[in-house]
Amino acid sequence: MKQLSRRQIAWRAAQDIRDGAYVNLGIGLPTLVSDFIPKGREVVLHSENGILGMGPAPEKGEEDPDLINAGKGLTTLLPGGAFFHHNDAFLMIRGGHLDLALLGAYEVSEEGDLANWTVEDPNTPPGVGGAMDLAVGAREIRVILEHNTKEGAPRIRKRCHYPLTAAGVVKRIYTNLAVIDVTRDGLITREMVPGLDFAGLQERTEARLTLANDWRVLEAPAA
C-alpha cells in the first residue's frame, strides 16, 4: 500500500482548487497546500488576521515581523493583496464570501460533522480560534486529515466522539489513503491509493463507505 505523505495529501487537495478561488487554509497540514497550487491558477489566500492575497513564506532576509499568517508563521503579500481588520476578516468568513476553507480535523462523521477544536484533554486548555466561524461560513468545507490515529483508530466515524466544531458541513475529505465525498447518499470513495482495496479502506474507517463506479487511483508526485 502506497500511502501519501502529508505533503502529498496537501498536493492532492491543491489540485481541486479552481482558478480564481478565494480560499482559507487552516493552520497545520492545510497550510502546506499553498505550496502545490497548480501553475497558472491564481488563487487568493485569506487569513483570519486580516489578509487577502497571502504569498509564500518569505525568502531569507525578506521576513517582516508584522506580516504573519493565522498560524503565526511569517508570510508575504502578493500584488493585489490587501490588509483589513479582524472584524472584516470574519465578516468575509461568516458572510459566505470564501469559496473554500480547507481545514484540518481530528474527526469527521458520515454526516459531514467536523470535530477539530478540542480533544478534551483535562491537562491542556481548549482553543477554538476561527475554526467554528470557518466551518459555518465558507461556501465549501473540505478537510485534510490522516485516515487513522497513530494508534490505528479511525478518524472518519459514524459520529464524532470529540466535541463538534460544526454539524453537517464537510463536503470532501482528503486522507493519506483516499479522497472521500460526503453526500446525501453517504460517504462516496472517489480515489484510493495503489495497493489498497476497498475492503481494506472500509476496515480502516468506522463510517460505512461506498465506492464510486468511476473511482480512480490516488497517486501524487513525490513531494
Binding site: 482558478d19 480564481g20 478565494y22 497558472g40 491564481e42 487568493v44 485569506h46 487577502l52 492575497g53 503579500l77 500584488p79 493585489g80 493583496g81 490587501a82 490588509f83 483589513f84 472584516d88 470574519f90 465578516l91 468575509m92 468568513i93 461568516r94 458572510g95 459566505g96 464570501h97 470564501l98 459555518v136 461560513g137
Partner: protein, 221 residues
C-alpha cells in the same frame, strides 16, 4: 487568472432578472452608479426591488428607472430630496411601494447580510411607528428592535479606481454606502473612473478588498 473586468456597462449588468432585489449605492447623486443604472434601464429589466438611501435625483439613474415604472418597491431612508419628483409622482400614483428604514438600520441590515448575521437588536426606532409589528426585547433596561439582514441579488456600486482582482478605492464622501453594499449582494458590479494595474493600489489603503467584487467596468468618470 482573475480578471473581473468586463468590456462595457451592458456586459456589467447582464444576467440581472425581472423581479430582482438590487442595491444602488450613493447618497443623493454622490457615489451613485449612474452609468450602470442606465445600462439596467437599457436592458429592459423590470419589477425590481431597489434598496438605496434616497429615491433618485433629477431624471437620471434611479430617478429615471422609477420614472419608467420599473421599480416595484423601494427600500430607503429618505425618499425626498431637492429633486425627487420622479419618485414622488410614482408614489402619488400608488405605482411604487415604499419601505421606510432608518438610515443606520438600512446600512446595518446590509452589513448583517454581508457578515452572516441572522438578525440584530438595535435601539433605533424602538417605540416608534417604524417599529410597529417588529419583535422587541428589553436589554439592560432599554427596548431594542429586532432587525433582519437585507440581502440582494446584485449591488450596483461606484468607485474611483479598481484593479483586475476588483480591489476598490473611493473618493471623499462618494464612498458612503458603496463598501457596505459590496458586502451584501450575490453579484457585485462596480463602475470605476479608472482601472489600474494589479499591485498599484496600496494594500494598506484598499477600502473594498477584491473578495467582495464580481465585475468591474471602467466608465471614465
Amino acid at each position: 487568472m482573475i480578471d473581473k473586468r468586463v468590456k462595457d456597462v451592458a456586459a456589467a449588468v447582464a444576467g440581472i432578472k425581472d423581479g430582482a432585489t438590487l442595491l444602488f449605492a450613493g447618497f443623493g447623486a454622490v457615489g451613485e452608479p449612474v452609468e450602470l443604472i442606465q445600462a439596467l434601464i437599457d436592458s429592459g429589466v423590470r419589477n425590481l426591488t431597489v434598496a438605496c438611501n434616497n429615491s433618485g435625483t433629477g431624471e437620471v439613474g434611479l430617478a429615471k428607472l422609477i420614472k419608467e415604472r420599473r421599480v416595484r418597491k423601494i427600500i430607503c431612508s429618505f425618499p425626498r430630496t431637492s429633486d425627487s419628483h420622479c419618485f414622488e409622482e410614482a408614489y402619488a400614483e400608488g405605482a411604487i411601494e415604499l419601505e421606510l428604514v432608518p438610515q443606520g438600520t438600512l446600512s446595518e441590515r446590509m452589513r448583517a447580510a454581508g457578515a452572516g448575521i441572522g438578525g440584530f437588536y438595535t435601539r433605533t426606532s424602538a417605540g416608534t411607528k417604524l417599529a410597529r409589528g417588529k419583535e422587541t426585547r428589553v436589554i439592560d433596561g432599554k427596548e431594542y428592535v429586532l432587525e433582519s439582514p437585507l440581502k440582494a441579488d446584485a449591488a450596483l456600486i461606484k468607485a474611483l479606481k479598481a484593479d483586475r482582482w476588483g480591489n476598490l478605492v473611493y473618493r471623499k464622501s462618494a464612498r458612503n454606502f458603496n463598501p457596505v453594499m459590496a458586502m451584501a449582494a450575490d453579484l457585485v458590479i462596480a463602475q470605476v473612473k479608472e482601472l489600474v494595474p494589479l499591485g498599484s493600489l496600496d494594500p494598506e489603503t484598499i477600502v473594498t478588498p477584491s473578495i467582495f467584487v464580481d465585475r468591474i467596468v471602467e466608465v471614465g468618470r
